[in-house]
């Protein structure tokens, strides 16, 4: 926490430059060549990379916003944990010791015969007979939650079953453990959101860059196209398209990408319109540098700030879109763990409040965390924000 130097260092560094300027100004008047000239001390580093005082200031600003800083950590912990969902909630044991040998059902499939059964098909570790066979000659290590997102639990009906000692958050209307589905659902939501954000940033930045850099007719035409494109009723189109193809993760991503890329175009275009008139861009043109190189090397870095500021909010929007599609039943294929589907179940089963409440709380926490992070990022990049 305290390994970073305080924010005031930025000011001090700025002053150091003036001090140096004075040296340049006063100390060395006549010679055009300055032998043994004193250079300012080398900059500091972050994650092993050298950074400018500006970046340092932004990092410090971000850190000073404690709500955003902690939100980022909580979100990262939750997300990383959900990436290892198979080790937390699974209907296969983590480790089996049977007859002196070790088995790893999480990673590999073993036939029932390996444990002395009769069926050559994969062992069903939740089957009491299989459990008993293994227990006789060894032991089993189960994950914390011994259910996958498709596992029908042992909870006595009728479904949805209320929370109990085995199903901590109860089961859904098909007898599947809500907590297990939640963990997988969280993962798929965030992954989907990240993927959509990533691809729509690439497309959006490219489109904005071309518009802003070349300007003129290209800009005019492109802008009109985007206005029309944004006017399309996205949800209806997605519903229609979802009836034509059987949507899976990648199909949905592609369909939503068609409409989500426009969100960044405006800011990036504005940055490029500003950036193409900078002196160093002119200097690059005077050097004979070609347009694509100018765009990537000289102007694009200016647009990254605007883009980064927007990313958490776009991520939030992507997750919400996926959830609402799932809620309507046009999202991920049936059976997939999904927060939207859980919400829909909660709505259909008002007598089982744990469904609706769970889905609501998880969504609210996830979206709030991301908004807090987004706020902190936005403030960190705000040049008028002063750290105290």
């Amino acid at each position: 926490m305290n390994d970073l130097p305080p924010a005031d260092e930025v000011k001090a560094e700025a002053k150091a430059t003036t001090a140096l300027e004075r040296k340049d100004a006063v100390g060395l008047v006549t010679p055009a060549r300055i032998p043994g000239q004193v250079l300012p001390p080398a900059g500091d580093t972050f994650l092993g990379r050298r950074i400018t005082p500006l970046t340092r200031r932004r990092l410090d600003n971000f850190r000073t916003n404690r709500r955003g800083f902690w939100s980022l950590w909580i979100f990262l912990v939750l997300f990383v944990a959900s990436l290892f969902a198979e080790f937390i909630a699974n209907d296969r044991p983590l480790l089996i010791q049977y007859d002196g040998a070790f088995y790893f059902p999480v990673f590999r499939n073993y036939p029932e015969t390996a444990f002395g059964g009769f069926l050559p098909s994969e062992a069903d570790y939740r089957d009491p007979a299989v459990k008993q066979m293994i227990d006789e000659k060894g032991w089993i290590v189960w994950p914390v939650i011994p259910f996958g997102y498709r596992t029908i639990t042992d909870a006595p009906g009728p479904y949805p079953a209320a929370p109990s000692r085995t199903d901590w958050l109860g089961t859904d209307d098909q007898g599947r453990d809500v907590l297990a589905r939640l963990i997988y659902g969280f993962r798929i939501s965030v992954l989907f959101g990240l993927a959509l954000t990533f691809f729509s940033s690439i497309v959006g930045v490219a489109a904005g860059a071309v518009q802003g850099y070349f300007g003129g007719l290209v800009d005019l035409g492109f802008q009109r196209f985007i206005e029309i494109w944004e006017g399309l009723p996205v949800l209806y189109l997605l519903i229609i398209l979802a009836t034509i193809v059987e949507p899976n993760f990648w199909w949905l991503l592609g369909l939503m990408l068609l409409f989500s890329w426009t969100s960044l175009v405006g800011v990036v275009r504005a940055e490029f319109l500003r950036g193409r008139n900078f002196d160093y861009v002119r200097a690059a043109r005077a050097l004979g540098v070609s347009d694509p190189v100018i765009i990537f090397r000289h102007v694009l870095p200016n647009a990254t700030v605007a883009t980064l500021t927007f990313l958490p909010f776009i991520l939030n929007g992507s997750i919400t879109t996926l959830t609402s599609l799932d809620f309507l039943g046009f999202g991920l294929p049936p059976g997939s763990p999904s927060l939207g589907e859980l919400l829909a179940q909660g709505k259909a089963n008002l007598q089982a409040p744990w469904l609706g409440i769970t889905a609501f709380v998880v969504l609210a926490i996830m979206l709030s965390l991301l908004i807090f992070v987004g706020e902190a990022v936005r403030d960190a990049f705000d040049p008028r924000k002063v750290v105290r």
Partner: protein, 539 residues
Amino acid sequence: MSLLEIRDLSVTFGGWRGAPPVEAVKRASFTLDRGETLALVGESGSGKSVTALSILQLLPYPSARHTPESSIRFAGEELVGGAPARLRSIRGNRIAMIFQEPMTSLNPLHTLEKQIGETLLIHKHMSGSAARARTLELLRLVGLRDAESRLGAYPHQLSGGQRQRVMIAMAIANEPDILIADEPTTALDVTIQAQILELMRDLKDRLGMALLLITHDLTIVRHMAERVCVMTQGEIVEQGRTADIFAQPQHPYTRRLLAAEPKGRVPPADPAAPVLIEGDNVKVWFPIRSGIFRRIKGYVKAVDGVSLKVRAGSTLGVVGESGSGKTTLGLALLRLLDAEGAIRFKGRDIAQERQRRLRPLRREMQVVFQDPYSSLSPRLSIAQIVGEGLRVHNLSASEAERRQLIEETLAEVGLDPAAAERYPHEFSGGQRQRIAIARALVLKPRFLVLDEPTSALDMSVQAQIVDLLRELQERYGLAYLFISHDLKVVRALSHEILVMKDGEIVESGSTERVMTAPEHPYTRALMAAAFDLAAVPAQ
């Protein structure tokens, strides 16, 4: 007792969380009497503006702090740590201030009447027709023409000089005892500058104000101030009567400052050298479009029929005020802007050449821009910035060779080759300008357009850059097109001069001839304003 007495004034910034505090002003002491003009002179970062702001207690407290022994007494009253209500009644009323940038110090959403009326309302409780009459009187006093019809004007409808006049009108509205002028003319053209200074001198005499003039320009000090304080690194190192200090500077810093004005002349150039670049009737017109069909209604004639010749190894200085088209001309010659007419580089007409075919020529014609802070990409290291041209033109066979070329060039412009791995923000203005020159020079060009390369720099750094440019010209036989509004620098660097006004050439000829015996009235006005600060009524 003096009107304003400053004793042991210190200002410290920052100093939290273990970071060392920055002492912007260190124990400064001076006095200001009624009807006197005192100049605070120093280079950027010397603490002169901070001193001025602390008189009005306008610093960002509490991040700025004064030491307990700091004292600012105005007519016997202590201002340091004064009650906010008391300070407000002094600010703008008994002590008024004019800022450097007239573009941003007026509220763009208010008319002149409202802006000036505000000070009257606050301090004199004057409103309605009385305020209107007083506003008109003030505007006439500061010499704004057609004052009556300008009352409803917004700041964007005025020129820079007119805006500065309005600022002065606001400052003197309550007949203050002290007028603090913080670089009041730095953002203005020379002829306007002379007029504004003239006006300030006149008003000071008429209203019996004391004038505290903050500037970096020694010519202004010499013409305006009776006494002068020289500041450097937060300290007043010398103060006394202006004439004495200019005649016999005591402190080494003052001596260096006085010696730093660009001096000397260029060694004569070979008049028979081949013509490197030649413009014949060059025109850059920007169309003005209006209406639904964007029909062209007229043109802004930025450059209108300019012909010029630059010979190898010589410098052509282009002089003119802002808006005269000198930068546009430079960019047009490099084909960074489209232009009409003929532009011949080494005999080849490049005026209509396609950009792709120009690329090989870019190696031989380069440009250095005015502002060293915006002309270097902040995200690239010095090696990347200087090496970019080498990469584009495939001038180096290997990474090692490129590296060597970069380091040689950095040494050539007087920088430590170890600077290559650093980023622009780590360098001062003068060093950055050297980097910009290195970027152009590494390609071994024949022709360099220098667009006000010294304007953004402190005086002594200016002199160094001028020396460097002169040395490089001699060594490589470079041809320069030197664009500047600063006639002193132009005189120190150019063989020939071209005076531009409104996109046209007013006068041209050898530097000596134009400087000593200008023929055109505009040139004469320009010279008078620049060297003697004499205001000549604009035509």
